[in-house]
Amino acid sequence: MSPSLPIIDHPRAARDFVNNVPRSHWHDDALWFVRVKRDRQAQSLPEWEYLREQASAIKQHTIANLGTYLQEFEANASRMGAVVHWAADAAEHNQIVLKLLQKNNAQRIIKSKSMLTEECGLNEFLIDNGIDVVDTDLGERIVQLRGEHPSHIVLPAIHIKKEEVGETFHQHLGTRQGEADPQVLTEAARGHLRGKFLDGEVGITGVNFAIANTGGIVVCTNEGNADLGVSLPRVHIACMGIEKLLPRFADLGVFTRLLARSATGQPITSYTSHFHGPRDAQSELHIVLVDNGRSRIRDSDTFRDSLNCIRCGACMNTCPVYRRSGGHSYNATVPGPIGSVLGPAREPKVHKSLPYACSLCGSCTDVCPVKIPLHHQLLAWRKVLVGKRLLAWNKRVGMKAASILFRHPRLFRFAGYTGRTALRVLPKALTHNRLNEWAIDRDLPTPPRQSFRAWYAENRKQTKPEDVK
C-alpha cells in the first residue's frame, strides 16, 4: 500500500451506507444470517472452546518459533520439488510473480481468491504490466467486473444485491437485462469462467495453511475454482503471508474444523485441497512467502496475537459496526475488527480512524476462533495513536478538560450543577442543536434538580457533610 493514500475517516465513509436504512438493514441481516449459522455449528461441537484454546496455543507457539518453522517448511517444500521464494514486502512479491509469468511467457492468469494478493495490489500491478488477470471466485469476479474491491474477506460481494449482479452481468457477460435469478446468474458466470479456465496459462492461489513438517500447502474454497485453476495450467504460483504456517500436519484438523464453521457456518469447506510439490515432472509449483509488515507485528507484545488470524471473517459477521456501515467504509484490504487492527499496523496515519470505528462491545473477541483479543487490541491502538499525536485536537482537548474536571471534585460538582441547571432552564433549541452531536438524533436525559451526592448529604448523615450542591 502506498503512503500517498488518503487518510480515511470512517464515520464519513460510513455515512451514506448507514443512512440508507433499508440497505443497511439488508446488509446487517445477510451477515447476521451467517453469524447464526456459525453459532449453530459452534454449538454442535461440545469441544468448541477447547478447539479455540488449542488453535490459539498452536498459533502462539508457531509465531514464537516462526523462523525455525519457516526454514523447516522451505526445506520440506523444496524437497518435494516446489520452488520457495521470499518477499520482504508487497513490491517484491509482485516482482517475483511478474518474473515467473514472464519466464513462462504467460499472458492470461486465472486467480483464486487471495487476500494477500489483494493486500499487495497484485491485480493492478499485473494489469499495468499487460497481463490479463481473472479472479475465478464468483464473488470476487463480480467485484472485479464492477471495478471494486472485496468488502469482506470471505464474502467479497456481500454488499451487492442480486439485482445489481444482474446489471453487472448484463453489461459484461450479456445476460438478459433485469435478470436477477441467482441460478441463472451463476450459470452465466460458470460459462464465462469455464472459457477463462481453459485459456489460463498460470494459476495463482492464496494459501490457507502451510505445514512445516510436510512442506505441503492447503487451499480451502467452496467453489472448487482454485482446484480447477491450478489443475489445468502447468504452473501454479501460491502466495502466502508468513503467518499462515502450522508446525505439524496433525495441527491442521484443529484449524479446518474451526475455519469453515467460523467463516460461513459450514462444518467444512467444500474443497480442502492439499498440494505437495508440483503435480508432475512437466509442472511447476512456486510458493511465495511474504512478510510485508508481519515481522514488525511479531515484534510487538501488544499486537503479536493478531498474527493468529486465519482470515475466517467471523469478527466481521458479528461486528455491529461492520454490519451497518459496510466493508468499504473501512477502505482497507481487510475490513472489520481484524482489519482495524492490521490497517494501522501498516499505515497508522491512513487508518487512524479505524480503531475508533468500534463500540468496544467485545463480540469479535468472543467469536474469534483463534482467540485474538480484538477489542483490547483496538483499545491498545487508540493509545498508540494518541502517542503518535494522531488523535484529532478537539478530542484531545476535550479529554484534557474532562481529566481536570474529574481530578477536582468541587469543580466536578459545580460543573454538574451548572450543566443540569442549564439543561433545565435553557430552551431546547439551545441544548438540542447541530452543535451537539449527541442530540441530533437523541434527546438528552431530563436533568434532576439534585445530584446523588446532594441527596446523600441530606439523607444519610453518617458521612461528614460537605458543601454539596
Binding site: 472452546e49 451497518r324 468472543d366 446523600y456
Partner: protein, 252 residues
C-alpha cells in the same frame, strides 16, 4: 462488611435514583454502605479514547479514595470493568493498594449474587420486561453467558430479576447485541451508533416488552434518548430500580 458505594459520574448527575436504589438494595441486605463524597469518575472516557496520560491521574485518585474497603460496589458493569480489566495500565503490577481495590470492586448484581449469595429479592414487578445485556458486563465481567461462546455461565441479572413476583421476561431475537453507545463512539460515529441503538430498541419492542432493563445506565441513556426522540413504545429502567421496588413510571 465495610462497603463503599461507587456512583459513576453520569449516574450521580443525571440518574440519582439509580444510586439511591443501589444504596437501598445493599442496605436491605444488612450491608453498611459508605459513600466517599470526593469521588468523581473512573477515567473510562479518557482511557477509551486512548488518552492514558489523562486517565492515569483519575485512576490513581480512584484507587486512593476506595482503598481499604472490603468491597466497592457500583451499579455499572462498564465502570467496574475499567477498574478490574484496564487499571493495570496505570499501576505497577505489585502495587498493593491497586490490587486490593481492583479485586474488591464489584458490579451490583455480581456483588449480590457472588459475594452475598443473594438469589432472591423480595418484591414484585408485574410487567413484561426484556433484559438488555450490556456488553462490558457481559463480555468483560462475564456476568452471564454470551451468544458467541459455549461456556456455561450464570446470568446474575436474570437470576435476581426473575426472582421478583409477577415479572415476565420476554425473549429477544438477538440476545446480546450491542446498543451502539460505546462512550465517545456515540458521538464520533453518530450515524452508526444511532442505527445500532434503534435496531436494539426495535428488538425489545418486537418481543412485546414494556420495559427494557439493564445493568448499565449508559446504554439506557443512549436508548432512552432514541426512544424519546422517536416516541417509541418502550420504557427503560436500571435493574437496581426494578429490584428496589420502584414503580414503573406511567407512559409519557
Amino acid at each position: 462488611m465495610n462497603v463503599a458505594l461507587f456512583v459513576p459520574c453520569y449516574i450521580d448527575q443525571f440518574f440519582p435514583d439509580v444510586a439511591i436504589a443501589t444504596l437501598e438494595l445493599l442496605e436491605a441486605q444488612g450491608v453498611t454502605v459508605h459513600f466517599p463524597p470526593s469521588q468523581t469518575c473512573c477515567g473510562q472516557p479518557m482511557a477509551n479514547t486512548g488518552c492514558s496520560a489523562e486517565a492515569a491521574p483519575v485512576a490513581r485518585q480512584f484507587v486512593e479514595m476506595f482503598a481499604g474497603y472490603d468491597a466497592v460496589v457500583c451499579p455499572s458493569g462498564s465502570c467496574v470493568s475499567m477498574v478490574r480489566n484496564h487499571y493495570g495500565d496505570y499501576f505497577a503490577p505489585d502495587d498493593e493498594q491497586f490490587t486490593q481495590v481492583r479485586d474488591a470492586t464489584f458490579e451490583l448484581c455480581e456483588f449480590l449474587v457472588d459475594r452475598l449469595n443473594v438469589r432472591e429479592i423480595e418484591g414484585r414487578f408485574p410487567h413484561k420486561v426484556s433484559i438488555h445485556s450490556s456488553c462490558h458486563g457481559l463480555r468483560e465481567l462475564r456476568l452471564g453467558p454470551c451468544s458467541e461462546q459455549q461456556t456455561p455461565r450464570e446470568n446474575r441479572l436474570r437470576i435476581l430479576l426473575e426472582s421478583l413476583a409477577d415479572v415476565e421476561i420476554m425473549p429477544l431475537t438477538r440476545i446480546d447485541e450491542c446498543c451502539g453507545f460505546g462512550g465517545t463512539f456515540a458521538v464520533t460515529e453518530r450515524e452508526t451508533s444511532v442505527a445500532m441503538g434503534v435496531d436494539r430498541v426495535q428488538d425489545h419492542i418486537a418481543a412485546g416488552s414494556e420495559v427494557m432493563i439493564a445493568g448499565d445506565m449508559s446504554c439506557l441513556m443512549h436508548m432512552q434518548g432514541l426512544i424519546s426522540r422517536r416516541k417509541m413504545p418502550l420504557r427503560v429502567m436500571h435493574i437496581a430500580q426494578a429490584l428496589a421496588g420502584r414503580e414503573l413510571a406511567p407512559s409519557p
